[in-house]
């Protein structure tokens, strides 16, 4: 088992089982809770791939998320019930690139871990129970349709991207969900849930050797096809679908969201470095320590909802920045000026160094969150970014790199604005 010393002084253990499963174990003395998460490197954007003997297949949007709902169903009941016997809480989530199943428990973590491994490895899908789930998922999607943050985010991505499946909601659409079949669900399951495409992380007051041997003993042999998964992502043009889109929703005031599409050209360490650089870029624009935020706030163009972020994977990368605002057009104008100013004037080394201290401290404190650490370890493993080198990379980031990112990545020809306005009442 490989041992990695973390910046907090803790030791992280990592290994790969013979079946290909990657395991992370982070012992946390004194803590009472044990948290485990089992994830597959498979999310909503993986909709085109090759299946042996069948060739290239394309499946409807929403399958990864549908599977996440259905794996809890067992032939003799429901996985929720099994976890209830230890008082454990169990849950799951799906992102663009990943599906994760997790639990947190005080009692019986070994049994709970075996149960987690078992239910994820034993799909029980019938025509009847798949049909029954559709109503539940429809309500989940409808709930999001009433959510302004979710709505504007969807609008933005639909118009920023022509082809990349990141433009479609993770859950799919009400129509696509109702069209999903048992065969499609199983096809995806058998392709993406093979152990070599998965990772398991355990965080808690556990013994690493015993934990690893428990996993080794209970992780079932994979009886379906194995091997490298070939995935296909449509070629994404440089241009956007629409540079400015508007919709109405029953909300109190307008919302504005600006997105930049970046070419996903970074891999491995470069991707991690870029994530740090872009986080500095957006803190310079939208952080509470930024003069720009102060000016926009005092001129009442943004409120406390103002924020920006960079999302990236080996398959896509985009930035978003937005706020609730009475004047979306004015805010857009001001943001254009701010970005221009940052692109043309030299950056302050003091600002960058102070922001690096912030990222440094935030990283250390994040090791208190089992969920955050475990999920980071796994997502960085899947994207092949060396997370254990995070602080080194932060230290080494140069002002010029931030400047270059500002100049090259914030390209107005690859930007879209989404505006959500209140419904006019008669």
């Amino acid at each position: 088992m490989e041992q990695i010393r973390l910046p907090t002084g803790e030791k992280l253990y990592q290994d790969q089982l013979a079946n290909g499963l990657t395991v992370f174990i982070l012992p946390k003395p004194q803590f009472l809770r044990t948290y485990a998460v089992l994830s597959t490197n498979y999310g909503s954007i993986d909709s085109q791939f090759k299946i042996p003997k069948r060739g290239l297949v394309e499946v409807p949007p929403g399958i990864a998320h549908f599977l996440e709902h259905k794996l809890f169903e067992e032939e003799d009941g429901n996985a929720f019930d099994r976890f209830a016997q230890w008082g454990a809480s169990v849950n799951a989530f799906t992102s663009y690139t990943q599906t994760s199943y997790l639990f947190s428990t005080i009692e019986g973590w070994q049994e709970a871990l075996i149960e987690l491994i078992n239910f994820v490895n034993n799909p029980y899908l019938t025509e009847e129970n798949v049909e029954k789930e559709k109503g539940i998922i429809e309500q989940e999607l409808r709930m999001y349709e009433d959510h302004p943050d979710h709505r504007i985010h969807s609008m933005l991505l639909e118009n920023l991207y022509h082809a990349n499946p990141v433009r479609i909601d993770i859950g799919g659409t009400v129509e696509s969900v109702w069209a999903i079949t048992v065969q499609e669900l199983l096809g995806c399951y058998h392709t993406f849930y093979q152990p070599s495409n998965m990772a398991l992380a355990v965080v808690g007051d556990v013994n690493p050797e015993e934990t690893l041997s428990l996993i080794r003993q209970h992780y079932p042999t994979w009886e379906h096809g194995q091997g490298a998964i070939e995935r296909f992502y449509p070629q994404e043009p440089v241009s956007v679908v629409h540079p400015w889109v508007e919709e109405t929703l029953n909300i109190s005031r307008p919302r504005y969201l600006l997105g930049f599409k970046h070419e996903p050209k970074w891999q491995g360490e470069e991707l991690l470095r870029q994530q740090i650089i872009m986080s500095l870029v957006w803190r310079l624009v939208a952080g509470r320590s930024s003069q720009f935020f102060e000016d926009l706030y005092t001129s009442n163009l943004v409120n406390d909802s103002f924020g920006a972020s960079f999302s990236s994977s080996p398959q896509f990368a985009y930035s978003i920045i937005g706020s609730e605002t009475e004047k979306p057009e004015r805010l857009h104008e001001e943001l254009s000026k701010i970005i221009k100013k940052l692109q043309t004037e030299p950056l302050s080394t003091t600002d960058i160094e102070r922001l690096k201290r912030r990222i440094y401290g935030g990283h250390l404190a994040s090791y208190d969150s089992f969920e955050y650490v475990a999920n980071r370890l796994i997502s960085h493993h899947f994207s092949q970014t060396p997370y254990h080198r995070f602080l080194e990379l932060v230290r080494d980031v140069k002002v010029e790199e931030v400047q270059t990112a500002l100049n090259t990545e914030l390209d107005w020809d690859r930007s879209t604005v989404a505006v959500l306005r209140p419904v006019h009442r008669s």
Binding site: S89, Q139, R288, G361, G362
Partner: protein, 428 residues
């Protein structure tokens, strides 16, 4: 993970939990007062105002830069409502001193900054900076108007406001727009000063080096002369259940059922009530989740919760509008089943385990260990995590039935899209 308590003069308590378990130091300060229309909105403005600037750091920008310099120290302030108390909260967290270069200096600098932001707002000796006051009145106005943006939170608040219209509990934690419009800078400033001078203050600390920290707070906190006496909620009898339906443009229909539990924190049946709520709708194995979601596929979310100070049980669900009557019926059947003793051994045991597990888990979150004490502070009876776990262990089926029999429906609230022509109309 227990707290050692010491008094810093009348009405000021310091609660300390010395531990090296976490990578950070966490500090929270709470000032409580009775929830009242006259003062609720003034109090609600304070979190907005303090983050704008202090005497030492007179703008949001300067505060943010100082916090960044302190390696991602975190400050926030908010309003909590527990029962009929409005609680002003100040929160501060920074990386544990042992992990930072010149850790002890950073720690003292951090805590002095925290104290300055929380107690010494930018402005004169009689008022906040006028520009800040005007801007933050506007921010609070947006917050109050923006309640309708999150339909589920809006529905829950609306149901509470209707159900408790004649009681302090009906007041929203951030106050109301009418009062806000009339507020003057000097008046809010006076209220801010009065909160710091005359109302109970509890300071909680979790982390290492707490002797140093306690010493510092000892110097910073001013002695108070007298402390305001506060009230506990009165119990109201339900005369007749009410049904209110409101419409707005939306996709889902949201159902809220508000019940009076006739039982709260100090009552003997409090823990049986918590177990009863867990069986009803607190977990994925609960009756509501199993019957409304898993069996009937009517909802994605459905659950119930307890407000243990006021004594309310609230059920909420998001459904398709055409299933309104059917869902209401299934929901009410679940409560009735519990009241009639239809509780399996597994349901009881799993629920108790779930509650005990959640309670024990709090030991792993600095914020969680702190917040759970608020009920004890308000009711003048602190209970340790171990005491609560023991009380839950002792709950039997007949206790649950007895507690849940006292639960009475007060208000059913439906928030939905206007009905299209041809839809059948709901009945009371």
């Amino acid at each position: 993970m227990n707290f050692v308590q010491c008094n810093l003069g009348a009405g000021v308590r310091l609660h300390m939990c010395e531990t090296d378990k976490f990578k950070s130091l966490t500090c929270k300060m709470f000032i409580q007062q009775d929830l009242q229309t006259q003062t609720a909105t003034s109090t609600a403005l304070i979190p907005f105002l303090v983050r704008r600037g202090s005497q030492e750091f007179p703008s949001t920008l300067q505060i943010a830069r100082e916090l960044e310099y302190l390696y991602a120290a975190d400050f926030s302030s908010d309003i909590l409502k527990i029962g009929e108390r409005q609680i002003l909260e100040f929160y501060f967290q920074m990386v544990d001193a042992t992990l930072l270069p010149q850790g002890e200096q950073q720690l003292e600098r951090g805590l002095r900054t925290f104290w300055d932001i929380a107690t010494n707002p930018a402005g004169s000796s009689q008022a906040f900076v006028e520009d800040y006051f005007i801007q933050e009145k506007h921010s609070l106005k947006q917050e109050l108007e923006g309640l309708m943006n999150e339909k589920r939170a809006y529905a829950l608040n609306r149901a509470t406001a209707l159900m408790c219209a004649q009681e302090p509990f009906g007041i929203y934690k951030y106050g109301d727009l009418d009062t806000l419009g009339k507020l003057e800078n000097s008046q809010v400033f006076e209220h801010f000063q009065s909160l710091w001078a005359h109302y109970p203050l509890d300071i909680f600390l979790v982390g290492t080096n707490l002797d140093v920290v306690a010493n510092l707070f000892g110097q910073l906190v001013e002695k108070r002369a007298e402390i305001q006496k506060l009230k506990l909620p009165k119990r109201i009898q339900v005369v007749e259940p009410r049904f209110v339906e409101e419409t707005t443009e939306m996709q889902q229909t949201i159902l809220i059922l508000g019940y009076r539990t006739n039982c709260s924190y100090l009552d003997e049946d409090y823990y049986p009530l918590l177990v009863g709520n867990g069986i009803l709708g607190g977990f994925p194995h609960s009756k509501l989740f199993m019957n409304v979601r898993e069996k009937a596929s009517l909802a994605y979310y459905v659950g119930s919760s307890i407000e243990g100070s006021k004594g309310l049980l609230t059920i909420n669900a998001g459904i398709n509008g055409e299933n309104q009557e059917r869902t209401l019926q299934i929901i009410q059947e679940q409560l009735r089943a519990i009241q009639q003793g239809d509780i399996s051994g597994d349901e009881l045991e799993q629920t108790k385990r779930g509650l005990i597990s959640a309670m024990t888990s709090m030991n792993d979150y600095p914020g969680g260990i702190i917040d759970r004490n608020l009920m004890g502070i308000i009711h003048g009876e602190m209970r340790s995590i171990d005491q609560v776990i023991e009380a839950i262990r002792q709950v039997h089926k007949e206790d649950v039935v007895r507690a849940m029999e006292k639960v009475v429906l007060d208000t059913t609230y439906v928030l939905r899209a206007p009905r299209q022509e041809g839809d059948s109309h709901g009945t009371n």
